[in-house]
């Protein structure tokens, strides 16, 4: 097991080095003039030249590459031309909001996706199963951001029962900073008003973000549970007179959830990408909104910083999922 983790970590290091090489290539080689790009559209020629020297863009490419890698390893992601701050400082400020949103969406995925998958499998070919199949196809066909807009139209504009933008009502101040997740921070400081309000603000963006992943997890749980239910050990459990509920929840589900685990890991990538769009729709101050606001300014360092941090988080999650898989399933030996 330990050997496997070490091997995976080594592989992850290689991948991340590749990721850095790719972002270096995208930022230094593809554009005609990276200094021009880094200085921004409105910069004067002498400003561009000054920046070229400061960023070392007048040196040979291999030296630039070395500097770039060394910088990223130290946590230096360059400077944003829009906020005039280090990109890493900006990311530290915006990232908790994204974590809160995606974590909330992931909880929704598990709370809704797994039970409805079990229900579809148990009541196979029933009305429930057909409805869930149609709903799942519809959910994966719907643009995340459009669903977000529709929810705003319905619950904010027409029904007027849920807020449409931001993390908190404007009349409230953020809870004392501990994790940066408002829901958690307000609980920690016992601030119930802020807790209720930040939770209410999560409902619409979280639902819009989670919809397609709920569908994927439902279908995955259904098909893997059906596969397990046809195995001999399940028949044995049934024939010795166990209640169907025990057979499904205790015997079959545990094995059925294993393949779902991999899918859940992959959904983290889907959620992180979707968060970019949802954050724009709901003015949610996370790294996605930060990246999109940077687009108008062609603020390249900022966008690359977001790209890099998402790739690292996503790779890390998938590593954890693979290792967990081995821990949970005793049949797997590395």
């Amino acid at each position: 097991m330990a050997r496997y983790i070490v091997k995976r970590l080594a592989l992850l290091t290689v991948t991340l080095l590749g990721v850095l090489t790719l972002t270096f290539f995208v930022s230094h080689v593809v554009p005609g003039d990276p200094a021009r790009l880094a200085a921004g559209v409105r910069a004067k020629p002498e400003q561009v030249e000054a920046l070229r020297t400061r960023l070392g863009l007048d040196r040979p490419l291999w030296q630039q590459y070395g500097r770039y890698i060394a910088g990223v390893v130290r946590g230096d992601l360059g400077e944003s031309i829009r906020t005039r701050r280090p990109v890493s400082a900006d990311l530290a400020e915006y990232f908790p909001a994204t974590v809160e949103l995606t974590a909330f969406a992931m909880i929704l995925c598990l709370l809704i996706g797994i039970p409805s998958g079990i229900l579809s499998a148990v009541k196979r070919e029933s009305v429930i199963d057909h409805v869930s199949r149609v709903a799942a196809t519809a959910a994966v066909s719907m643009p995340t951001f459009w669903l977000g807009l529709l929810l705003q139209l319905l619950f904010f504009r027409w029904l007027q029962i849920l807020p449409a933008t931001g993390r908190l009502g404007f009349y409230l101040s953020p809870p004392a900073h501990a994790t940066g997740l408002y829901v958690v921070d307000s609980l920690l400081s016992g601030n119930w008003t802020a807790f209720g309000d930040s939770f209410v603000h999560l409902i619409l963006p979280g639902t819009a973000l989670a919809a397609s992943s709920i569908a994927v997890i439902t279908r995955m749980t259904r098909s893997s549970l059906l596969e397990i239910l046809s195995l001999d050990y399940v028949r044995t459990a049934r024939s010795k007179g166990l209640a169907e509920k025990v057979v499904i929840l205790k015997h079959a589900l545990r094995n059925a959830l294993l393949p779902s685990l991999t899918v859940i890991g992959l959904q983290v990538g889907v959620l992180l990408a979707g968060a970019v769009l949802i954050e724009v729709v709901f003015s949610w101050p996370g790294i996605g909104l930060y990246a999109v606001q940077s687009i108008t300014f062609v603020d390249f360092q900022a966008i690359l910083g977001v790209t890099l941090i998402t790739a690292i988080v996503y790779s890390g999650v998938n590593l954890i999922v693979d290792v967990l898989y081995g821990v949970i399933d005793p049949r797997i030996h590395y």
């Binding site: 590749g18 994966v140 643009p143 951001f145 990538g269 990408a273 970019v276 769009l277």
Partner: protein, 283 residues
């Protein structure tokens, strides 16, 4: 070929959802193809007097912020979305197929190199890598196509690789090798035709994802730009009028939804048809 179509048709008849998807997709394709010759209003004709009109007999989907007819723009938007997604899937699948088949067949270093390279691309959530590339390449249809192809080829390469691995030990390939058939001909005439069906299914379903991602890029201000009619770009402007003009965001989004739904339904049907494993299960 004709027999195949007939068989496919008969099979589809037992699957109303797949048939409905295929029919809807065909209708959308025809609409997109003949849009310039249909009796539609000019999608570019600006008329500030008519801005943000709700749906009416004259404008079935209302008008946008520049008084342009939404219905006409939604229909013309299908041209952009379908064109981009077809080209993206074609580029990504052909490139991925060549790389993946070669790597899988030769194995060793070539295979290791391909796997590690695809690892890098797959470490990014797709839209986010596309976003970074699109920012560098600038706005427009061609940069969008390039950005999306870069995101998608690794999936096809992986798929083609696993197919090549599966077939390279097959008896008919061994036989061809023993007879001294040159390697590239083994790849072209023996491995490739046997690897195609999962790739075709993947490509069909990917058309839907490509449409969603194209719209997403335009929605955040990259990709296809005004005044070209594109669904994502229309939604980007429409969201500023969310509170006053519900039709502005409703219809372009509905167009994306229906098109992608049609592709997914037709694609699922195609998968069940081509893949005997899922056919047997009947699930």
């Amino acid at each position: 070929m004709k027999a195949l179509w007939k068989k496919l048709g008969r099979w589809m008849a037992g699957r109303p959802l797949a048939a409905a998807g295929a029919a809807a997709l065909l209708a959308i394709l025809l609409l997109a193809l003949f849009a310039p010759w249909l009796p539609l209003q000019d999608p570019q004709s600006v008329s500030m007097r008519d801005k943000l009109l709700p749906p009416s007999a004259a404008h079935p989907m209302g008008t946008d912020d520049l008084g342009r007819d939404m219905f006409s723009r939604v229909v013309h938007g299908a041209r952009t979305s379908l064109l981009v997604s077809v080209i993206v899937v074609a580029c990504a699948s052909v490139f991925g197929l060549v790389v993946g088949l070669t790597a899988g067949y030769f194995g060793g270093m070539a295979d290791e190199l391909m796997m590690r390279t695809t690892d890098i691309f797959l470490a990014f959530p797709g839209l986010i890598l596309a976003m970074a590339v699109a920012v560098v390449l600038g706005p427009g249809v061609v940069p969008t196509i390039v950005a999306l192809s870069i995101v998608w080829w690794p999936w096809y390469a992986r798929l083609a690789r696993s197919e090549a691995l599966m077939h390279k030990q097959a008896d008919f390939v061994e036989a061809a090798r023993a007879l001294g058939v040159p390697t590239w001909r083994i790849l072209r005439s023996h491995i490739l035709p046997n690897s195609l069906s999962p790739l075709i299914v993947q490509a069909t379903l990917d058309m839907g994802y490509a449409i969603l991602t194209t719209a997403a890029l335009s929605f955040i201000g990259l990709g296809v730009q005004e005044p070209t009619a594109e669904w994502g770009a229309m939604l980007n402007i429409g969201r500023k009028y969310l509170l006053s003009a519900w039709w502005f965001i409703t219809f372009p989004g509905l167009a994306i939804f229906i098109t992608v739904l049609a592709i997914n339904l037709a694609g699922d049907g195609l998968r069940d048809y081509l893949d005997p494993r899922t056919r047997k299960r009947g699930a």
